[in-house]
Amino acid sequence: MSKAIVGFRLGDRDVEVLVDPMTPLQRVLRDDLGYTGAKEGCGQGGCGSCTVLVDGEPRVSCLLPTEDVAGRRVETIETRTPTQGVSRLQQAFLDQNALQCGYCTPGFIMVATALLELSPHPAREEILDAIAGNVCRCTGYEPIVAAIEAAATSVGESASGHSSGAEHS
């Protein structure tokens, strides 16, 4: 097994990492690059806590071989947080008390970010479908759904506060 250099775009910066084959992107983000917003809840794709966006699509980074993102754009909770303040979606999570321990929060926000860029005014069923792969053990989910709905009610600009990233639409 020889290591390989993998280059990808992380938010607005280009990064190159040296990885063993099949190293999960989550390990690279957390251990090599210090982007610890992608949490590990299960390490087997079952909880959504490690969700990042790859070319705008939500992916569980614990199961994603780093080689697979070569040349692609990866976005995390860190890269999606505005330089000052928070995005409308993040503010909605605060306003609706859509968090308690906070461990699952980055994953939910990344999934909701992708949803709102694909479907700016999602039906409740679309929201439930989008977050179906994310586990929250504190809130009971209702405040999370309410936060995504609240963020979606704003018309005009992208609800996640950024205009870039929805390259798949």
Binding site: R30, D31, G34, T36, G37, K39, E40, G41, C42, G43, Q44, G46, C47, S49, T76, I77, E78, T81, V86, Q90, Q91, F93, L94, D95, N97, L99, Q100, C101, G102, Y103, C104, T105, P106, I109, V135, C136, R137, C138
Partner: protein, 445 residues
């Protein structure tokens, strides 16, 4: 009088902003360039004698650093309740001669990478002689049952060797004799795993001078610090514990599990050591809420007053006591419910089995008791044909009532709370129930 500025307002969490931006620092969000990884070799069977542990193949795994056995642990006893004077200390940090549940730690392995430590753990060969095991309350209490403990039966013994925690008030037999109805039922519950999204974890960072900083997601920072100091036989002022950010706990991160071994490994290797449960370890090994069996026998008058309550409870507590003796006492103190009953008899049994040791979870000891009591209250309503609101209101504690464990009810608000709940859900209570208050019975002050 000054207006209250905070009461009655809805405040955001102080850590909300750092949560939504991913900046909250959880225990394993810290990076150390020379970090080592610790995992534990666990018993694959529920009950066995340990004949031998062969590390030779594990030691050949590239990246293997060292193993820790029970001989490396200065005070190899799990001590969580010794700090509040509850004995016996019935659990080892690393097993010595016997394992009593699936997942019991036997040997710890430290390696350079997560992959290497998993590989090395998989290559440890255990020579175990399996023993018969018991899993449920009936089997554990049956004559001739396999014995889980070291003292000959499967019960925890309370002060004076008593086999259960007992509370008595008045005379239940007299109460049953006077009663118009006897209502008796048994309530069973299953174990419940907290399943926090963040698994139990810590990183111990040695400073090279015998001091160690431990970053941990424990819910009980000073329990963890004190116990680590006892287990490692080191002065508490050599330990600095950093916590506070917990990715879900619900009581499941109160037991002191990862810190002592990670700290020991850090001292032995003089490098930072991470010990984090995998998801499967979190589900299999971390203490669940105990399974309970609770039998309530009530003597009830035709007008709905409960005049006698006999409670017999069994907690299926698993292989070791951990914080269960404390929950037995809590259960006994609350087992008759928030009701004024003149004749009460309570016996609570802590039963050992070859299941994962149970421990703290949200109101442990009380929660399952409350479930049983409130289902029982509805059953009493059915038997007597009296409205469930009335049954609760006429029996509810009021100020000055004597509780079975000899505590006077003070600051009682149950009557008012039930009345408010009725109003909220649009239930119109009868006038005599609306006029009830928590004021002492008999018109006292």
């Amino acid at each position: 009088m000054k207006e209250l500025s905070t009461v009655g307002t809805s405040l955001g969490r102080v850590d909300g902003l750092s949560h939504v931006t991913g900046r909250s620092v959880f225990a394993t969000d810290r990076r150390f360039p020379d970090l080592l990884h610790l995992r534990v070799v666990r018993s694959p069977v529920p009950h066995a004698l340990i004949r031998g542990v062969d590390l030779s193949e594990a030691e050949t795994v590239p990246g293997f650093v060292r193993a820790l056995t029970h001989e490396d642990v200065p005070h190899n006893v799990y001590t969580v309740l010794s700090l509040i004077g509850v004995e016996p200390e019935d659990e080892f940090v690393l097993a010595e001669t016997r394992v009593r549940y699936v997942g019991e730690p036997i040997v710890a392995i430290v390696a350079e990478t997560e992959r290497a430590v998993r590989e090395a753990v998989a290559r440890v060969k255990l020579d175990l002689e399996e023993l018969p095991a018991v899993f449920d309350i009936d089997a554990a209490l049956a004559p001739g049952a396999p014995v889980v403990t070291d003292w000959g039966d499967n019960l925890f013994h309370f002060e004076g060797g008593r086999p259960c925690r007992s509370v008595r008030l008045g005379d239940v037999e007299k109460g049953f004799a006077e009663a118009d109805h006897i209502v008796e039922a048994t309530y069973d519950s299953k174990p419940i795993e907290h399943a926090p999204t963040e698994t139990t974890a810590c990183i111990a960072e040695p400073h090279g001078d015998g001091r160690v900083t431990v970053y941990t997601n424990t819910q009980a920072l000073y329990f963890s610090l004190d116990n680590t100091s006892i287990i490692l036989d080191m002065a508490p002022n050599r330990l600095r514990f950093v916590g506070g950010t917990v990715g879900g706990g619900f009581g499941g991160k109160v037991d002191v599990i990862v810190e002592p071994l990670a700290t020991l490994a850090a001292l032995k290797t003089n490098r930072p050591v991470k010990y984090a449960f995998s998801r499967s370890e979190e589900m299999q090994v971390s203490s669940p809420r105990a399974a309970w069996r609770i039998t309530l026998k009530d003597g009830v008058m035709a007008d709905g007053r409960i005049v006698a309550r006999q409670v017999t409870s069994y907690s299926n507590s698993g292989a070791y006591s951990r914080q269960t003796p404390y929950s037995m006492t809590k259960h006994a103190a609350n087992a008759s419910g928030p009701y004024n009953i003149p004749n009460v008899s309570i016996d609570v049994y802590h039963v050992y089995t070859n299941l994962t040791p149970s421990s703290a979870m949200r109101g442990f000891g009380v929660t399952m008791g409350s479930f049983a009591q409130e289902v029982q209250m509805d059953r009493i309503a059915e038997v007597t044909g009296i409205d469930p609101w009335r049954i609760r209101l006429i029996n509810a504690y009021r100020n000055g009532d004597m509780r079975p464990h000899r505590k006077l009810a003070e600051d009682a608000t149950l009557v008012e709370t039930i009345q408010a709940a009725a109003e909220l859900v649009g239930v119109e209570l009868a006038d005599d129930l609306k006029s009830l208050t928590s004021a002492p019975r008999g018109g006292g002050a």
